[in-house]
C-alpha cells in the first residue's frame, strides 16, 4: 500500500516529463529533417553532422516518453485517461506492461519510438555511408517521425489527464491478455517501421541521384531485419488466433491480417531484388519502387487498423478523423516519393548484362510472383470498398476468394523456388541447372502420390502441399551439397559456407515446412461436436476422449469454468486436457482457452462450451494434423533471415569504422 501511495506521488511528475519529452522530440525531428537536408544540398559538413546527434537525441527523448507511459501503466496511475480505459489494478504485471501498447495512443507512441530507434541505429552504424547519403537518409527518416509525432500530439495524445481520477480502470480487452499477443504488436511494428528505413534509403538515393551496387548492399540488412520482425510478428499473431479464438483457425484473411501480410510479401520481394542490385547492378528502378511501395503498404496497414473503414476483428475501430490524418501522411509520402521516382528515372539505368535464363531472371520471377500475390491480396481487401463506391454493390470478399485467388501464386512460387535457387548468375542453361534436381523431383512426386493414396477423400490440397514441402526441402539439400563442390573435405566446406548461404537454405526450407503444415491442417482436420456427460467417453479419429469433471476456478482477474479431460489412444493414456471458458467481470467479456495436446504429427484441440439442460457440457474436439509445422516453418524463416543478417559482408562495412586508430603512446 505504501508503495502504491508513493507511486501516486511521483507518477504525475514522471508523466509530465514524458509528455514534455514527446513534444521536445517533435522539435528535434523538425531540426533533423531540414538542417541535414540543406547541409547535404549545400555540402556544408557542419549542417550534415547535425543529423547524427539529433537522431540519438530524438530516440532518447521518445524512449523517455514511452518509458513514462509504461511507468504510468505499471503503477496504475488512473489520472491518465488512457490507463483508465485500458488497465486495471488487479491485472497481472505482464499485461499492465503490454497494456502500454494494447491501445491506439500507446501503440502509435511505440510506432514512432521504433521509427526513431531505426533512425538512431542508422546514425550509429552508418559510419560507412557517404556523408551526404547518410545525412539525407536520416533527414527522410526524421520526416516520417515528424508526421507521426504530429499525429500523436494533435489527435491521439496518450498523456491526456483526467481531473478526477477514478478508483480503478476498465481493464484491457481480455482477448489481448495473453503472452502471445503481448509481444505480437512490438514485433509487427518493428517490421512495419523497419521498412521505413528501406524507404528512407530509396528516397535519399533518389535525391542523391545515385543508385549503385553499394546502395543495394546498404539497404539489404534493414530490409532483412524488417522482414524477420514481420515474420515473427505475423507468426505470433497467427499462433495466438489459433489457440485463443476457440476454433483453431490460424489465418482469416481479415483486412488487418492482410495489412500485415502485404508488406511481408513486398519485403520478401525487396530483399531478393536488392541482391540483384548489389551483385549485378540491374533491377534498380524496380527495387527502388518496391522499397517505396513496401513502406506504403505498412502505412496502409496502419491506416486500415485505425480508420474503421474496413470491418475487421482486430481493428481499434477509431474515429475516421484519425484515419484521414494517416491518409494525408500516406498521400504525402507516397506521392512525394513516386514523383521523385519518375523525375529521377535516369539514374537507375541497369548495368549488368544477363541471359533470359539466369539467376537474375529467376529472382525476377520470384519478384513477379510475390508482387502479383500481394496485388491480389490488395485488390481483395479493397474490393468491398470499390464495389460499394463505384458499382453500388454491397458485398463481402472472404477466405474462399483469397484461398482460390492467392494460393496458385504460392504453388507456383514453391514449384519454382528450388530451380531458381540453383540457377547460376549471368547466363545459364536451363537443362544443366535443373539436372541435379531430377532425383528429388521424382522423390517429391512420390511423396505427393503416396499422400494421395493414404488419405481418405479426393482432395488435392494435402498431396500438393506435401509434394511442395518435400520438393523445396530436398531442393535446399541438393543446393547445399552442390555448393560443397568436389573432392575431399566437403563437410568442412559445407560448414564454412557464408552465413548468407545458410540463411537462404534455412529460410527456404522454412517456407517448405510452412506450406506442408498449412496443407495438412487445411486438408485433414477432423472435428466432433457433442454434449458430453461427466465420465462419458467418445472417439474422434484414432483417439478416445473422456470428460472427467468440470470445475469453477478463480483466476487473478477472471472466473473460469475448467473441464478436465483425458486423451487416450488404443486404451493408452496420452495426455490430460483442461479447456477453459473464462469470464472477465471488469470488461464483461468471456474468452475461451482451448485445451491442446501438441505434437509434430497433430494437435488435439478441445474447447468447452455451455452446460446443457440435461447436465451435459458442449464439447468440441478437433484433430489438426501438421499444425505445428506452420510455426516451426515460420521460426525457420525468421532464423534464416537472422543468419543472413550476420553474414560477413554486412559486417565488414559496419566494422570498417572500427579499424584501429593510431593510439597515442602512454
Amino acid at each position: 500500500m505504501a508503495g502504491r501511495v508513493r507511486a501516486l506521488y511521483t507518477s504525475p511528475m514522471i508523466t509530465e516529463i514524458g509528455h514534455f519529452a514527446l513534444i521536445l522530440a517533435f522539435g528535434v525531428a523538425i531540426v533533423q529533417t531540414f538542417v541535414p537536408l540543406i547541409g547535404a544540398y549545400k555540402r556544408w559538413p557542419a549542417w550534415m553532422a547535425v543529423a547524427e546527434p539529433a537522431a540519438g537525441a530524438q530516440f532518447a527523448l521518445t524512449a523517455l516518453a514511452f518509458g513514462a507511459l509504461m511507468y504510468a501503466f505499471v503503477v496504475s496511475d488512473f489520472s491518465l485517461s488512457l490507463v483508465v480505459a485500458n488497465s486495471h489494478s488487479a491485472k497481472p504485471m505482464l499485461y499492465k506492461i503490454s497494456g502500454t501498447w494494447g491501445n491506439h495512443e500507446g501503440s502509435m507512441l511505440l510506432w514512432v519510438l521504433i521509427v526513431t530507434l531505426f533512425g538512431a541505429m542508422a546514425a550509429w552504424f552508418g559510419g560507412n555511408l557517404p556523408p551526404t547519403l547518410r545525412a539525407r537518409v536520416l533527414s527522410v527518416q526524421s520526416a516520417i517521425a515528424i508526421a507521426f509525432f504530429a499525429f500523436i500530439i494533435f489527435t491521439s495524445n496518450p498523456f491526456t489527464r483526467l481531473a478526477t481520477p477514478p478508483f480503478d480502470g476498465q481493464d484491457l480487452n481480455p482477448l489481448l491478455q495473453d503472452p502471445g499477443l503481448a509481444f505480437h504488436p512490438p514485433f509487427l511494428y518493428l517490421g512495419y517501421v523497419g521498412l521505413s528505413m528501406a524507404f528512407s534509403f530509396a528516397v535519399a538515393a533518389l535525391i542523391e541521384g545515385r543508385v549503385d551496387a553499394a546502395w543495394g548492399r546498404w539497404v539489404r540488412p534493414w530490409t532483412l531485419a524488417a522482414w524477420v520482425f514481420l515474420t515473427i510478428g505475423i507468426a505470433l499473431g497467427s499462433w495466438w488466433a489459433y489457440y485463443e479464438l476457440g476454433w483453431g483457425g490460424f489465418w482469416f484473411w481479415d483486412p488487418v491480417e492482410n495489412a500485415s501480410f502485404m508488406p511481408w510479401l513486398l519485403a520478401a520481394a525487396l530483399l531478393h531484388s536488392a541482391i540483384v542490385v548489389e551483385k549485378r547492378e540491374s533491377l534498380k528502378s524496380w527495387t527502388i519502387l518496391l522499397a517505396i511501395l513496401a513502406f506504403g503498404f505498412s502505412l496502409i496497414g496502419t491506416f486500415i487498423v485505425r480508420s474503421g473503414l474496413l470491418t475487421s476483428v482486430h481493428a481499434f475501430a477509431n474515429d475516421p478523423e484519425r484515419g484521414v490524418f494517416i491518409l494525408i501522411i500516406l498521400g504525402f509520402f507516397m506521392g512525394g516519393a513516386l514523383i521523385l521516382f519518375t523525375l529521377r528515372a535516369g539514374v537507375m539505368e541497369a548495368k549488368g548484362v544477363f541471359g533470359v535464363v539466369s539467376r537474375e531472371s529467376a529472382l525476377l520471377v520470384n519478384n513477379l510472383l510475390l508482387a502479383v500475390a500481394c496485388f491480389v491480396v490488395f485488390v481483395g481487401t479493397m474490393w468491398p470498398l470499390v464495389a460499394e463506391m463505384f458499382f453500388d454493390r454491397k458485398l463481402s470478399v472472404g477466405p474462399p476468394f483469397f484461398n482460390a485467388a492467392f494460393t496458385p501464386f504460392m504453388i507456383l512460387l514453391g514449384l519454382f523456388m528450388p530451380i531458381g535457387s540453383v540457377m547460376p548468375w549471368k547466363r545459364a542453361s536451363l537443362w544443366k541447372a535443373v539436372y541435379p534436381l531430377r532425383y528429388v523431383f521424382v522423390l517429391a512426386i512420390a511423396v505427393g502420390g503416396l499422400t494421395f493414396a493414404i488419405q481418405t477423400g479426393r482432395s488435392m490440397i494435402g498431396p500438393v502441399g506435401l509434394f511442395l514441402g518435400a520438393w523445396i526441402i530436398m531442393g535446399v539439400i541438393v543446393e547445399l551439397v552442390q555448393r560443397t563442390g568436389r573432392g575431399p573435405d566437403r563437410l568442412g566446406r559445407l560448414m564454412r559456407l557464408p552465413r548468407a548461404d545458410w540463411g537462404k537454405a534455412t529460410a527456404h526450407a522454412g517456407l517448405g515446412v510452412t506450406m506442408a503444415g498449412i496443407a495438412g491442417l487445411t486438408a485433414w482436420t477432423q472435428d466432433d461436436i457433442r454434449v458430453a456427460q461427466i465420465n462419458q467417453s467418445w472417439d474422434v479419429g484414432h483417439y478416445t476422449l473422456t470428460l472427467n469433471n468440470v470445475e469453477e476456478i478463480r483466476g487473478p482477474n477472471y472466473l473460469s469454468t475448467m473441464g478436465s479431460l483425458t486423451l487416450a489412444q488404443d486404451g493408452k493414456f496420452v495426455a490430460n486436457l483442461s479447456p477453459e471458458k473464462r469470464f472477465y467481470p471488469v470488461a464483461q467479456m468471456p474468452t475461451t482457452e482451448a485445451g491442446i495436446d501438441y505434437n509434430l504429427i497433430r494437435d488435439v484441440y478441445v474447447v468447452i462450451g455451455d452446460q446443457q439442460n440435461n447436465g451435459g457440457w458442449t464439447i468440441r474436439t478437433y484433430i489438426k494434423p501438421l499444425t505445428n509445422w506452420i510455426w516451426i516453418g515460420s521460426a525457420l524463416m525468421a532464423l534464416g533471415g537472422l543468419l543472413s543478417l550476420t553474414d560477413r559482408r554486412f559486417r565488414v562495412a559496419a566494422g570498417a569504422r572500427k579499424t584501429p586508430q593510431p593510439v597515442p603512446a602512454e
Partner: protein, 150 residues
Amino acid sequence: MKRLALVLMLLATPLMAVQPDEVLDDPALEERARDLSKGLRCLVCRNESIDESDASLARDLRILLRERLVAGDSDAQAVDFIVARYGEFVLLNPDMRGANWLLWGAGPLMLLLAGGIGFGYARSRSKATSPTEDPLSVEEQARLDDILGR
C-alpha cells in the same frame, strides 16, 4: 459478489459456433451444410462465417440453411434462398457476375502484364552490350588510392 459474477457469466456466455442440437442426423447432409456455411457471412459480426460465429443471428442462419437442405434444395438453391433474403453481402465468396470479373481477373491479368514486362526486360538485358567501363571520378580515384595506401 462472486454469485453476482457467476450469474453475469451465465448471461454473457456466447453460444459457441455450431451447437450440438443443430447437427443434422444425416452425416452427408451435415457435411454439405458445414461446407456451405463456411462460405456465408455472419451479418452482424466483423468478418466471420456463420460456421465460426457465436452470434444468435448466425445460429438462425445455420438452422435456416439446414432446413433448406433437409427440404431437398441443392447447394446452389439453398445459397440462393439465403442471398435472396440477406443480399449479396452474405456471400464470403463473391460471384463473378458484373464488375466482379475485375476482382477475379486482377491476379491473372496482372501476372500476364507483369510477366510480359519482366520478359521484355530480361530480353533487353541479354541483348544489351556490356556498358563501357564507368571511369572513376577524381574524387573516387583519390579515395581508392587512400584505401590502397598509395
